[in-house]
């Protein structure tokens, strides 16, 4: 009994707690989109350099996740969804998370610069700065458009992957950025409609809290309509092709119809069927991004055989 009490007080973290600080689920999206950005670029990269570059892009994303958890530990402790995270649950101290985040940021930026080039490293550094300082520290608790701004940080990985291969930025990489940037708000607002979270207790100005659910439904429709031309425009660039164009038309058409169905409903209807439309659109939005980027990859893979690309 005495032993239990003594060891409970130590609060020592396991290896898995540090992994959890790096937000592995977010990292998987970063890895996928960065891989696509790298592979669809017109310049071939040595496979080992490509693997190492993707690893350090993922590590940089993880570092920004750790710094985000360090900064947001106070509000994470107030919300059901996040109070089990390593810092609010007491398994990792805030200082450890800060140290880990800063160290991994430095390592990932320098190593990406050495492995690939310093344009890619600069973009990674800017992404970490944007997510931690601009989004987490400055705007997340200030404006209901926080999701829109946060989306920019998540949109950089394909641009970094492209820069690893080409050493620069281009219309194609900017369109891949724009695709994720415009996709993020409707994706998260659809989630916010059916997840009865406690953002108001934590004083985070989510759109559903500040402007109401009707306005959130309208925002989802507007952003989805604005997203469609971005996806279709990307299909007409050098990274697109007939597969991307078909995917863009179908996926965006489906997304706009889903958003329109969300916009038409009110809370009474949504409560009656337990937010079935909102949940379906949220699930679809996950497939949307995966399939859109998979279509870029399919066109790039089939191009040498005369089947993909323009």
């Amino acid at each position: 009994m005495t032993e239990m009490r003594t060891n409970d007080l130590t609060g020592e973290a396991g290896f898995g707690d540090y992994v959890q600080l790096l937000k592995p689920r977010v990292m998987s999206l970063v890895v996928f989109t960065a891989v696509v950005g790298l592979l669809v670029a017109p310049v071939p990269v040595h496979p080992f350099v490509a693997i190492v570059s993707i690893l350090f892009i993922a590590l940089g994303a993880g570092a920004s996740g750790a710094l985000n958890m360090w900064w947001d530990a106070d509000i994470d402790g107030m919300m059901k969804r996040t109070k089990g995270r390593p810092i609010p649950s007491g398994r990792v101290s805030p200082g450890e998370a800060l140290g880990l985040g800063v160290a991994l940021s430095g390592i990932s930026i320098v190593m990406l610069g050495l492995a690939a080039n310093f344009v890619a490293a600069g973009l990674l550094a800017f992404t970490i700065f944007f997510y931690v300082v601009v989004y987490s520290m400055w705007l997340k608790r200030l404006t209901p458009q926080n999701i829109v701004i946060g989306g920019a940080a998540g949109a950089f990985p394909p641009m970094i992957g492209w820069a690893v291969a080409t050493g620069g930025v281009s219309v194609e990489s900017a369109l891949m950025f724009a695709l994720i940037f415009m996709w993020t708000p409707p994706h998260f607002w659809a989630l916010a409609l059916f997840m009865k979270t406690d953002y108001s207790d934590a004083k985070v100005p989510m759109l559903t809290v500040t402007h109401g659910r009707k306005a959130t439904r309208a925002h989802i429709l507007v952003y989805t309509v604005l997203l469609a031309p971005v996806g279709i425009a990307a299909a007409f660039t050098s990274i697109g092709g007939p597969i991307t164009l078909a995917a863009a038309v179908l996926l965006n058409g489906w997304f706009v119809v889903g958003a329109w169905r969300i916009w038409r409903r009110d809370e009474v209807q949504a409560e009656a069927d337990k937010y079935s439309v909102e949940k379906a659109v949220f699930r679809f939005s996950l497939y949307y991004l995966f399939l859109h980027f998979a279509a870029f990859l399919a066109d790039a893979a089939l191009r040498p055989y005369g089947l993909g690309g323009w």
């Binding site: 032993e3 060891n7 130590t10 020592e12 973290a13 396991g14 290896f15 898995g16 540090y18 040595h46 080992f48 350099v49 190492v52 690893l55 190593m111 050495l114 492995a115």
Partner: protein, 63 residues
């Protein structure tokens, strides 16, 4: 004679140390691999600093 089983905290510490050790080994492997790839990419004419010297190229040595 029996030993008491280790408390859970020692297993946690071991897991953490093992994880950090494996990550460091992976990091060393990555740096070594990168070095090999970069050096091979320079080629024979590149030399230690990667600057191309025509005199060091194999065909320059043959009369």
């Amino acid at each position: 004679m029996s030993f008491r089983p280790d408390h859970e905290i020692y297993k946690r510490r071991f897991g953490r140390n093992l994880g950090v050790g494996l990550l460091l080994a992976l990091f060393v492997g990555l740096v070594f691999g990168l070095t090999v790839v970069k050096v091979l990419a320079i080629g024979e004419s590149g030399g230690f600093d990667g600057v191309v010297r025509q005199g060091a190229a194999p065909d320059a040595k043959t009369p």
